[in-house]
């Protein structure tokens, strides 16, 4: 089951099928010691680009999962599928609307055990994903913590994903969210470019996601693996 697999992820890379990455860079990423590769992005995601990237990733033994963002770009053959549900939006289609359409299209063919639901809280109002999903991204700590509480205690979902998408996040905010979580796993993604930043978020997030840095400085991106893995996660709850 994907949920059990993800419970062991401390560091993951997120690769965007719409961005170019040389074979050498891809090799470095895949041999970095990271726990898994997430394939996913917001813009211009096509079946063909995902399929091509998947083929290149298949050379390595690393678990590869697809974060599904478009019902028309679900490529078979991944080790699992991450299903985002944006929580801080007023638009039900980003909470469950697209999911219902996918269920109606694929029905019983969906391999449920290969799916992992991610409850997203998007905290960078300037990001594309925030504009796309009409997210209420300007939350204060208390409001952000209430989402964590909802996911942990009422929805009882396996993962809360704090998404700063391209911008490094506010440590106090991430800590406030983390304080509400016991069983729910915390993913953090956004703007990690330095050792200090990697260590900061690795204190509070179970899983640290590194994306952009792969495309701007692959050597440093590879270093984030040990920066994260050598940091002790703070006690939960």
């Amino acid at each position: 089951m994907l949920e059990q697999m993800a419970a062991g992820w401390r560091h993951v890379f997120k690769l965007d099928p719409n961005r170019r990455l040389s074979d050498l860079s891809l090799e470095k990423v895949c041999q970095s010691g990271t726990d898994a590769i997430i394939v996913g992005g917001t813009d211009g995601i096509t079946f063909e680009d995902i399929w091509k990237l998947q083929k290149r990733l298949r050379k390595y033994l690393l678990p590869c999962v697809l974060e599904v963002s478009d019902i028309n770009a679900i490529v078979p053959g991944f080790d699992g599928y991450l299903i985002p549900s944006v929580l801080n939006t007023d638009q039900a289609r980003w909470i469950h609307g697209a999911h219902l359409k996918a269920i109606q299209r694929y029905g019983c063919g969906i391999p449920w055990k290969q799916l992992l639901l991610l409850g997203y809280v998007i905290l960078n109002p300037e990001s594309k994903v925030s504009r796309l999903t009409e997210a209420n991204a300007g939350l204060d700590e208390e409001a952000a913590a209430s989402y964590a509480c909802l996911v942990e205690h009422l929805f009882k979902w396996p993962v809360l994903y704090v998404e700063y998408s391209g911008k490094f996040g506010d440590e106090n905010m991430v800590r406030a969210i983390r304080r509400q979580l016991k069983k729910t796993r915390l993913f953090y993604g956004g703007g990690i470019t330095t050792r200090r930043q990697a260590e900061t978020m690795a204190k509070w997030a179970d899983t640290v996601v590194v994306g952009n840095l792969v495309y701007t400085n692959v050597e440093k991106a590879v270093q984030t693996v040990s920066w994260v893995k050598e940091t002790n996660l703070q006690e939960k709850g």
Copy 2:
């Protein structure tokens, strides 16, 4: 924990604090052999009315839970609290918006283990609750089944509540929903007035909720307990 308690409910009565019920009728309801009393309604729900009804119910040993519909009318002292989340609406405030406000108001004081989340699918477009929540109540069987699939496999919530609110439901629809459920418990509510109706829904729903009939014909309402309990639930999944 309320979830374990509710797993034993085959028949429950739903009492509306905004409707009158004589002491004698209340006694008949509470001594009917039903498994629990849900206090809840849509219209004119006040703290005081709930509190008064609770006081009257306290004479009996039956488990009494409050279905929370208004953040200003949460009366302490119930055996548990049902938290509805309407799924077939485009309005996020009925999915989780009011819940987030309640979390911000009550924060850590919330007794989470006494709460049970109910994923609602409202199927009577004429009902007050449907208009209030702007529900997309005119679903066909396939669409309704997709909500069941979402709740069972992706959200993994404990209960799906099929609400026909005052109108007796379509057996084919309820059966189509039930087919998608294994772990998620199915509650059915709406318009049961005859033995045949009680038996029909008791075949598909784990828990049958009887409400209006208490106010229109309490003798018959009491009979629904044995009608439901003597019906065999069809095998799941």
